[in-house]
């Protein structure tokens, strides 16, 4: 499995995706830097907020892109058959590729996290906010949470790739999964509080409640109130969120191994 991981790493790093990270990272940082000028009272906080949103979107896009390139395309072109000639269980390929992607995502998260922090520090035009953003552990733990978020999306896309015959399907459904999983928290909360009396919407309430058993609530991995306002999340919420994510990933990976092992490449 390790060899599949390292080969994934090398393939990912050699591809032009690293340039892509840096360009996208620069764009993200630029947008975050500029968004500070729309804030009368808290330019750094807004820059951090918008930057973290951009970071999440970028990590999700990279997760889907890398799964597509390192797994989906190999299956489509049947070059995966070369890897499968080795006398190892097919599951090793799936897991190795997944952890390779997750490693690449960690690298992307760290690089962009550093760039974003630089932008947050330099923006704001020297305005002294009353309430400052908190550096250090709160910020990097938030980046870690967003990385876990992208890892869950990667697992979902990977599972789809193992049985999908249409190349674009994992990408499209992966995006829908990323958006749906993250929206779930806010929508469920809105409906549980009565949707401000919107009866049309309340009809969806049982449906949304049922979906919570299928889709992970990815908004539980977003702890940005900590660096932004100094509001640390409850330890229990953090732990349960991580357990939720890791168990969902493990479940998807097991399914992926099963479908991939059974797959007939003709």
């Amino acid at each position: 499995m390790i060899s599949f991981l390292t080969s994934a790493w090398r393939a990912g790093l050699r591809s032009r995706s690293i340039q892509g990270i840096l360009i996208l990272g620069a764009v993200l940082v630029g947008v975050a830097y500029l968004s500070a000028s729309f804030s009368p009272r808290q330019p750094r906080t807004v820059a951090l907020d918008v930057g973290l949103s951009g970071l999440r979107i970028t990590l999700v896009l990279f997760a889907l892109f890398w799964v597509q390139e390192l797994v989906g395309r190999e299956i489509e072109r049947r070059t995966v058959l070369f890897s499968l000639t080795y006398p190892v269980a097919r599951g090793n390929y799936v897991l190795g590729r997944y952890f390779g992607v997750v490693g690449l995502l960690a690298l992307a998260a760290i690089l962009m996290g550093m760039l974003l922090w630089l932008a947050v520090l330099t923006t704001g035009g020297g305005y002294d906010q009353s309430f400052v953003v908190t550096a250090g552990a709160p910020y990097w733990i938030t980046v870690f949470g967003l990385w876990v978020d992208a890892a869950v999306v990667a697992a979902f896309a990977l599972w789809l790739s193992t049985f999908s015959t249409v190349p674009m399907l994992p990408l499209a459904l992966g995006l829908a999964f990323a958006a749906g999983g993250k929206s779930l928290g806010a929508v469920a909360e809105y409906l549980s509080k009565g949707a401000e009396g919107d009866l049309e919407l309340m009809r969806f309430a049982p449906f949304i409640n049922a979906i919570q058993w299928l889709l992970p609530d990815l908004s539980r991995l977003d702890w940005r109130a900590w660096p932004m306002y100094g509001l640390a999340p409850e330890a229990l919420a953090v732990v349960l969120g991580l357990v939720l994510a890791v168990s969902y990933v493990a479940f998807l990976l097991s399914l992926a191994v099963i479908t991939f092992t059974r797959r007939d490449f003709q």
């Binding site: 808290q42 807004v46 919107d198 306002y229």
Partner: protein, 281 residues
């Protein structure tokens, strides 16, 4: 019909040029369609969440930026209602958003959207436990727009608790105590300011609050007398001296602050907030 092949492109070109010139000239007289819409759309909450791929913080930021860039001198009353909705939704998405509550309190109450502003400020008070300002603005709005002095004083005391330094806390608690002078229910005012005096840690501040309580007790006494005056004479009180002349009070009570008492246009006895102007003899 035979046409000279060398002439026809030139003919076409000149005809088109003529048409262009004529239409440009005519258009100058036609008025332009102006689109002076400042804020017309407030999307449903869940749509805003989906549009940002589930990121409620981004949705809140987008809504707050929309609120910040409106030009209020071009807005009509319907626009303010929409602005109120947009900012209230932003507050739901991220109640701790500072720009949102700040611009909301600066714009909305003064343009007929007090409820939206108060909702936003109440949520911000809860979410930003380290920030005294939302409670402070809520208190001011209660006093200024609703005339609810007792409620405003309660929120002001809550805001005071969040201030870091003792001196600032004292200033705000003083303001809360002074606002109780305007409360309709003097019994409630007396109870609250007495409680504040008991809780005060500094002796000089406690003595000062007890003086305020004494003033309020005198006010209560005078108001009871004014009520009896109205029952006897059938008309509201005009000057305080009438109470002494009518024998309803022995003498006007002394005010420890030296400002004294006054009668407002409705015949209600009130506390003065400045020394009386001396009559020239």
């Amino acid at each position: 019909m035979t046409v000279n092949p060398k002439a026809s492109p030139w003919l076409v070109a000149s005809a088109c040029a003529l048409a262009f010139v004529v239409s440009a000239e005519r258009l100058k007289a036609v008025p332009r369609q102006t689109v002076t819409l400042e804020l017309q759309v407030a999307l449903p909450l869940f749509v805003q969440v989906f549009m940002t791929a589930g990121d409620r913080y981004l949705a809140a930021n987008l809504a707050a930026i929309r609120a910040v860039i409106v030009t209020t001198d071009k807005m009509r009353p319907e626009d303010y209602r929409i602005l109120g909705k947009v900012q209230e939704d932003a507050s739901w998405l991220n109640p701790a958003h500072e720009d949102n509550y700040y611009t909301a309190t600066a714009i909305l109450p003064w343009n007929g959207e007090l409820d939206a502003a108060q909702t936003i400020l109440a949520r911000a008070t809860k979410a930003r436990y380290f920030d005294y300002q939302p409670a402070f603005y809520y208190a001011f709005n209660l006093l200024h727009f609703k005339g609810d002095a007792a409620g405003a004083s309660a929120w002001m005391r809550a805001a005071a608790e969040k201030l870091p330094s003792d001196d600032e806390r004292l200033i705000m608690q003083n303001l809360a105590a002074r606002w109780m002078d305007r409360a309709q229910d003097t019994d409630l005012a007396i109870r609250i300011v007495e409680a504040m005096a008991q809780q005060a840690k500094r002796k000089d501040f406690r003595a000062y609050l007890e003086q305020r309580v004494a003033r309020l007790r005198s006010l209560k006494q005078l108001r009871a007398a004014a009520e009896r005056f109205r029952e006897h004479s059938g008309r509201p009180l005009v000057k305080l001296q009438d109470l002494v002349d009518g024998g309803l009070v022995a003498a006007l009570p002394a005010d420890p602050f030296g400002f004294g008492f006054d009668v407002d246009k409705q015949g209600q006895v009130v506390l003065r907030t400045s020394p009386p102007v001396l009559q020239k003899k």
